[in-house]
């Protein structure tokens, strides 16, 4: 049964499995929508990363309940007292202590029109409270001391590779994580 389900929506010879949603509504076609909008507004086209081949899958070294979990958010999350992000290819990162109070979380992102609810309830994009609860109840072994955030709307893939990722990597390496959760906006 599983193999039949996996066939559905499979895109590349079984190297990469895509299980499409069964419930309506159909997922929004964001790439096409954004291309049309930016075209009509006279903006340069935004180029999302397109993979050429299926990725490797690293095996977990221990179960979730014994693992140290980190988080990267691209929602432009910062803590009150830190510098906010700017909207022109900001490739900087912020370290968000995982014990930060929800009321001190802020967001700045070029897609600010999608942040209306996050500004009132950060839990819709930055799951800090849910993760703390999953740590307390033992689902997760341990949380990173600092969660990480950046502003995901960066046009230059060169800057993502040469500036953003090395900063994230240094911060991730310091924390000696076993698992990494990533939540895009």
């Amino acid at each position: 049964m599983t193999s039949r389900d996996e066939q559905k929506g499979s895109i590349r010879d079984g190297d990469y499995m895509v299980l499409s949603p069964e419930a309506l509504p159909m997922p929004t076609a964001y790439i096409e929508q954004t291309r049309r909008q930016y075209d009509s507004l006279g903006y340069p086209p935004y180029q999302w990363f397109e993979a050429e081949d299926a990725p490797v899958l690293t095996k977990m070294s221990k179960p979730l309940s014994e693992s140290k979990l980190g988080l990267i958010s691209t929602a432009g999350t910062y803590v009150a007292g830190q510098q906010a992000y700017y909207y022109k290819d900001d490739a900087s990162i912020r370290e968000i202590p995982s014990n930060t109070d929800m009321s001190d979380l802020r967001f700045a992102h070029i897609m600010e029109n999608y942040l209306v609810e996050a500004w009132q309830d950060p839990g819709v994009v930055f799951p800090i409270e849910a993760l703390r609860k999953l740590d307390e109840d033992g689902t997760v072994g341990e949380l990173a001391e600092e969660f990480l955030a950046c502003m995901g709307g960066i046009y230059s893939q060169r800057r993502v590779n040469e500036e953003l990722i090395p900063q994230l990597e240094a911060a991730v390496d310091r924390q000696q994580l076993d698992l990494l959760l990533l939540v895009p906006l």
């Binding site: 190297d15 910062y78 609860k133 990494l180």
Partner: protein, 127 residues
């Protein structure tokens, strides 16, 4: 985000993306992705509903132990109401009313700017 996920996974750190843009996930092929079919801006659940947010994140994390090969799985949650309202915000019309794309930090609250500048001053005083 897929680029970042693939980078860390390739270095030996297992990753999981929890996202709501299906076509962007399919294009980027992250090692493990849980797709939540909600409007953008609600990747970890409906607003003002802590128990639902907890459930979504808990179910997503279970995905770490549920992939035998790389791919995207859909989560069994349905957006209840207001999807059209939230789609509306994607329509910018013929003019973009969002803040300009320049090098000015865009503080969510004006008091955040003051707090940051005070922190900066404190640090520069050699404390």
């Amino acid at each position: 985000m897929s680029l970042i996920a693939r980078h860390f996974e390739g270095k030996g750190l297992p990753t999981l993306v929890l996202g709501s843009a299906f076509d962007i996930l399919v294009a980027g092929m992250p090692p493990r992705a849980m797709f939540l079919n909600y409007p953008l801006g609600f990747e970890t659940g409906r607003p003002f509903d802590k128990s639902h947010q907890f459930e979504v994140v808990q179910a997503a994390l279970a995905g770490f132990e549920d992939f035998e090969r790389p791919g995207i799985k859909s989560m069994p949650y349905e957006w209840l109401a207001g999807w059209e309202m939230t789609r509306e915000r994607a329509r910018l019309g013929d003019k973009d009313s969002r803040s300009p794309r320049d090098m000015t930090p865009r503080y969510q609250k004006e008091e955040d700017r003051r707090l940051f500048e005070e922190n900066l001053k404190g640090n520069n005083n050699g404390t």
